[in-house]
C-alpha cells in the first residue's frame, strides 16, 4: 500500500500539471471574486471563508478525473484489481494520494490567499483548520465519483454533476464552522459534524468506490 502511494505521488509530481494546476486555479478564483463583487473590504471579509471553501472545492474537483483515468487506460487498474491487495485499500490510497497532492496544498495555501480577501484575523486559523478536516472528505467523495465514471469517455462533466451534490454537506459544515469560529459563536457542534462527515466518508466510501470499480472493470 505504501509502495502504491509513493508510486502515485511520484507520478503526479513528475507529470507536473496536476499538482500546481489546482493551486493556480484556486488562486485565480480567489482573485476573480473581488473583481466580481467589488473591492469593499468589509464585504470581502464577510464572504471570505465561504469563497475560500468554494474555491478549494472547485480546485479539488479539477484533478478528480485523473485519479483512475491513466491507470484505467494503460491497464494497470486491472492489475491492481487482481493484485492481492484489496481494492478497497487501493481506492483509499488513491484518495490519500489525491489529498496529499491537492487537498493538503490547498489547505496550506488558503490562509495565504485569505490575505487577498481581507480575511479577519481569526479567520486564518479557522479556514486552515476546517479545510484540514474537510478536504479528506472531498478527496474521498471525489474518488468515489471518479470510480463511478472511470469507464466513460467524456466523464469529466458528468463527474462534476455527480460529485458536487455530494459535496454539499462537507462544504456547508466546513464553511459554517469557519464562519462561527470567526464570529466567536459556538463552533463545537458543527466542527464535530464536519469531522464526522470526513471520518464517515473515509470509513464507508472506499467500499462503494471499490464496488464501482469492480463493476466498471467487468
Amino acid at each position: 500500500m505504501i509502495a502504491l502511494l509513493v508510486r502515485d505521488l511520484r507520478l503526479t509530481f513528475r507529470a507536473g500539471g496536476g499538482f500546481g494546476l489546482g493551486l493556480a486555479f484556486f488562486l485565480i478564483v480567489t482573485v476573480l471574486v473581488p473583481f466580481g463583487v467589488g473591492p469593499q473590504s468589509d464585504l470581502l471579509a464577510r464572504i471570505a471563508p465561504g469563497i475560500l471553501w468554494v474555491g478549494a472545492l472547485l480546485a479539488c474537483l479539477l484533478s478528480l478525473d485523473r485519479i483512475f483515468q491513466l491507470d484505467f487506460e494503460d491497464g494497470s487498474l486491472d492489475l491492481l484489481a487482481t493484485a492481492p491487495l484489496p481494492l478497497e485499500g487501493v481506492v483509499t490510497m488513491k484518495a490519500l494520494a489525491h489529498w496529499v497532492t491537492t487537498g493538503l496544498p490547498l489547505t496550506l495555501a488558503a490562509p495565504l490567499f485569505g490575505g487577498l480577501m481581507s480575511l479577519p484575523q481569526a479567520g486564518y486559523f479557522w479556514v486552515f483548520v476546517t479545510l484540514l478536516i474537510g478536504t479528506p472528505a472531498l478527496s474521498m467523495i471525489g474518488t468515489f465519483g471518479a470510480a463511478l465514471t472511470v469507464g466513460l469517455k467524456r466523464g469529466g462533466l458528468l463527474l462534476s454533476l455527480l460529485v458536487l451534490p455530494l459535496y454539499i454537506p462537507t462544504l456547508l459544515f466546513g464553511a459554517e464552522t469557519a464562519r462561527r469560529g470567526i464570529m466567536g459563536m459556538d463552533y463545537a457542534q458543527t466542527l464535530a459534524i464536519l469531522a464526522g462527515v470526513s471520518a464517515g466518508s473515509i470509513a464507508i466510501l472506499p467500499f462503494a468506490a471499490a464496488a464501482a470499480i469492480r463493476i466498471n472493470l467487468r
Binding site: 468515489f144 463511478l148 465514471t149 469507464g151 466513460l152 466523464g155 458528468l158 454533476l161 455527480l162 458536487l164 451534490p165 455530494l166 454539499i168 454537506p169 456547508l172 459544515f173 459554517e176 464562519r179 462561527r180 459563536m185 457542534q189 458543527t190 459534524i193 462527515v197 464507508i204 466510501l205 462503494a208 464496488a211 464501482a212 463493476i215 466498471n216 467487468r218
Partner: protein, 257 residues
C-alpha cells in the same frame, strides 16, 4: 455456485420474488393496471376538483391555500419516488432482479417532475406569503438539493451504454446519494440558523388544519400516490419491453453476421 442455487431454491420467500420475474411481472401488472388507473381517476380528479372549487378561504392565507392541493402531494411524492428508487436499487443489487433496476430507472423521471412541481408551486406560493419567490429556507433548499441528485442520477443512467453496468452503478449512486441527501437535509438546518436566527419561514401545514382543508388534501394525496404508482408500473413495463427488444435485435444481428 451450486450451493447458492440450492439455497435460492429452498428460499421460503420465492413466492414473493417470483413477482419480479419479467414474464410474470408483465402479466400481473397488465391485469392490475386498468384497476389502478381507474382508482387513480376516481381519487385524483375529485380530490383536485374539490380542492380547487369547493374549499373556503383560509385565515391568513386567503384563497392561496388552494395551492396546497398540488404542492404538498407533489412534495410527498418527490421524496417517495427517491425512497422507491433506493429500495428497487437494493433489490437489484442483492437479488439481481432486472425488474428492480428498471423500476428504479422508471421512478427517476417521476421523482424529478414531482420535485419540479413542488419547487415551482412553492416559489409561486412564496411570493404572496413571504414576499419572495425564493428564500434559503431549509425545506426549500433540501428540495433543490434533491432536484440536483435526481439530475445526477439520470445523467449517469444516460451516460453508460451497457444496461447492466448502468444499473449497477446507478444503484450504488442511489444508495450513497441518499446518505448524503439525508445529511444535506440536516446540514441546511444548521446553516440557516447561522444566517438568520429564529426566522421561521416554513409553514407547519399538518398542524391545526381544519377538516374542510384536510379531507380534500388526503384525497389528492392518495390520488397522487396512485398516479405515481401507475406511472412507475407503466414506465417499468416500457423498460422491460425495451430490454426484450434489445435482446431480440441482438440475436438477429448475431444470426445475420
Amino acid at each position: 455456485m451450486e450451493d447458492t442455487r440450492v439455497r435460492q431454491h429452498d428460499d421460503r420467500w420465492n413466492w414473493f420474488w417470483a413477482w419480479a420475474n419479467p414474464v410474470k411481472f408483465m402479466s400481473w401488472t397488465g391485469k392490475v393496471l386498468p384497476w389502478l388507473m381507474a382508482m387513480t381517476l376516481v381519487t385524483l380528479i375529485p380530490g383536485l376538483v374539490w380542492g380547487f372549487f369547493f374549499t373556503p378561504e383560509a385565515q391568513g392565507f386567503g384563497s392561496s391555500v388552494k395551492i396546497i392541493y398540488v404542492h404538498v402531494p407533489s412534495a410527498t411524492m418527490a421524496i417517495q419516488a427517491w425512497g422507491m428508487m433506493v429500495v428497487a436499487s437494493l433489490i437489484w443489487l442483492i437479488r439481481r432482479h432486472h425488474v428492480g433496476a428498471l423500476a428504479a430507472k422508471g421512478a427517476a423521471l417521476i421523482g424529478l417532475t414531482m420535485t419540479a412541481v413542488a419547487l415551482i408551486t412553492g416559489a409561486i406560493w412564496g411570493q404572496p406569503m413571504w414576499g419572495t419567490y425564493w428564500a434559503w429556507d431549509p425545506r426549500l433548499t433540501a428540495f433543490l438539493i434533491l432536484f440536483l441528485f435526481y439530475i445526477g442520477y439520470m445523467a449517469l443512467w444516460a451516460a453508460i451504454d451497457d444496461p447492466d453496468t448502468a444499473a449497477d452503478l446507478t444503484s450504488v449512486l442511489a444508495i450513497v446519494g441518499s446518505v448524503f441527501a439525508v445529511l444535506s437535509r440536516y446540514a441546511v438546518n444548521f446553516w440557516n440558523q447561522g444566517l438568520h436566527q429564529g426566522a421561521t419561514l416554513s409553514l407547519d401545514k399538518e398542524e391545526n388544519i381544519a377538516d374542510v382543508f384536510w379531507l380534500p388534501l388526503v384525497l389528492s394525496l392518495v390520488g397522487f400516490g396512485l398516479l405515481c404508482l401507475v406511472l412507475v408500473l407503466v414506465r417499468t413495463r416500457t423498460e422491460v419491453r425495451m430490454r426484450r427488444l434489445r435482446a431480440i435485435e441482438m440475436r438477429e444481428r448475431m444470426r445475420d453476421a
